[in-house]
Symmetry: C2
DNA sequence: TCAAAAGTGTTGTTGTTACACCCATGG
DNA sequence: CCATGGGTGTAACAACAACACTTTTGA
């Protein structure tokens, strides 16, 4: 912010946007909120929700505002973190627009209504998008891929997985989140031990949930801990995209 | 990038800068490159090097260019990664300027020459800055703190520590980097086992280095691995700022 | 032969994996 | 009484911390 102010042509102001990668777990799949664009460029293509950053707001505030405008969700109820900035000079055909992507994680959210200039808004299974690249507007394919990896990594070292579960939830609910996002099957007994032994991760309510079939499960709320100690590591090969093998992998040797 | 284009006053273009947190290990301490500002605002105050992003370049390219301009270093020889964006509307008194911070890690670098509009450029021990907050220009104290935590965390899961060591280096050199950055003492034998067992972290050259005193040490170059498997975790309480206890902590119970 | 740093071996502990087994409920 | 998930126990194994010990050099 110091140098080269004499050569004004070399640097000029730019537009800055935030784009939101909003994940939720729905129907045994990780889903991302996409909108169908109602304007040029990329008219009719699916894209991440987002918008311009205003003069007097921080990026975090812009992300929260866009979240509210696009989904009607109160951002304080979900996990929101900055992912990174994307800055290719040609990423937007309208001109120089850099964007800061945000990762948002939340429990089963209401189906959003389309905004004023979006034709539609939908939850889309992430796996269907990652398998077939090149479908989203702008560089949103890349952003989505980075966000997915970030989300998977976050589950290892933090307690954010609980942000996907409406409270109160069972250990089984929580395990389901891990299985869907990592695309693997986890051993129920070992998983239980780990999450219940991690301090301040789960707070028992004392209540139980009676399922249609099977033994009732203890209910929990989210504890105060935000870091998961010790971490819950994925055993390596969690690189694929499929939720298809969730059932198949269990107990394979 | 879609909504509210009719209310132009709400969002306007902004200036975007990159700021560099350049770390090196020098004289048993982690040092950061700072410049003394030669212009208003914050004239005479110490700040992170950085500059405006130009029209036709990505943020990465801007960071590499600034690195070259401020230090004369070829950025391809060191580790460079995006940290995050800082966007407080009042972070720069000149107006709305958001910045994207970069973390750069490299081996003992040449003492930089001051740029055209910086009075001076110096390596400063990080601990002296973190202990006394509120000394740097803009929000650079916050950026520095975030960068330090990021660097400490990176050592756990990646092989970047080797980026601080001029090749070829010994296991002792590498351990020294960990000790200085984490501010703790590590057990030499256990450290050795971990880094030599991690695949493709260290490549033996077959040579040895003969120190002034003591047994000669095997020399290594950096291997191809960028992820450290298994990770080298700091045992928890690595939160302080001091390198002062490096020697004292060893073998405490 | 001593100091100093490199490097090896060993032991107890902790966390993980794989799996056997028991529990509580609705049909 | 059986299917279905919830939940406990346990033995084999891997990683790790602590630390005793050996090796190789210059002085």
């Amino acid at each position: 912010m110091i140098k080269k102010s004499r050569r004004a042509a070399e640097h000029s102001s730019m537009y800055v946007t935030v784009d939101l990668v909003i994940f939720t777990v729905l129907q045994d799949a990780l889903q991302v909120l996409l909108i169908e664009r109602g304007n040029e460029p990329y008219l009719g293509r699916w894209a991440l929700p987002g918008g311009y950053v205003r003069d007097a707001e921080t990026l975090d505030e812009a992300a929260l505002r866009e979240l509210d405008e696009e989904t009607g969700i109160d951002g304080r109820r979900l996990h929101l973190e900055q992912l990174r900035a994307y800055s290719d000079p040609h990423r937007d055909p309208r001109g120089r627009i850099i964007t800061v992507a945000y990762l948002a994680l939340g429990p089963e959210l209401p189906l959003p209504t389309a905004g004023t200039d979006a034709r539609a808004a939908r939850w889309i299974p992430v796996t269907s998008l990652v398998d077939s690249q090149g479908t989203l507007a702008f560089d949103h394919d890349v952003i989505l891929r980075d966000a997915l990896e970030q989300a998977r990594s976050r589950l290892e070292y933090s307690t954010v997985a609980a942000a996907f579960c409406p409270e109160p939830f069972t250990v089984g609910d929580l395990r389901h989140v891990y299985e869907v996002i990592w695309g693997v099957a986890l051993d129920p007994s070992n998983f239980r031990r780990k999450v219940t032994h991690a301090e301040s991760f789960l707070v028992p309510t004392g209540e139980r949930r009676y399922p249609e079939v099977g033994r009732p499960a203890a209910l929990y709320r989210r504890g105060a801990a935000r870091l998961l100690i010790p971490p819950l590591l994925r055993s390596s090969d969690v690189t694929g995209t499929g939720t298809s093998r969730v059932a198949a992998v269990r107990r394979e040797r």
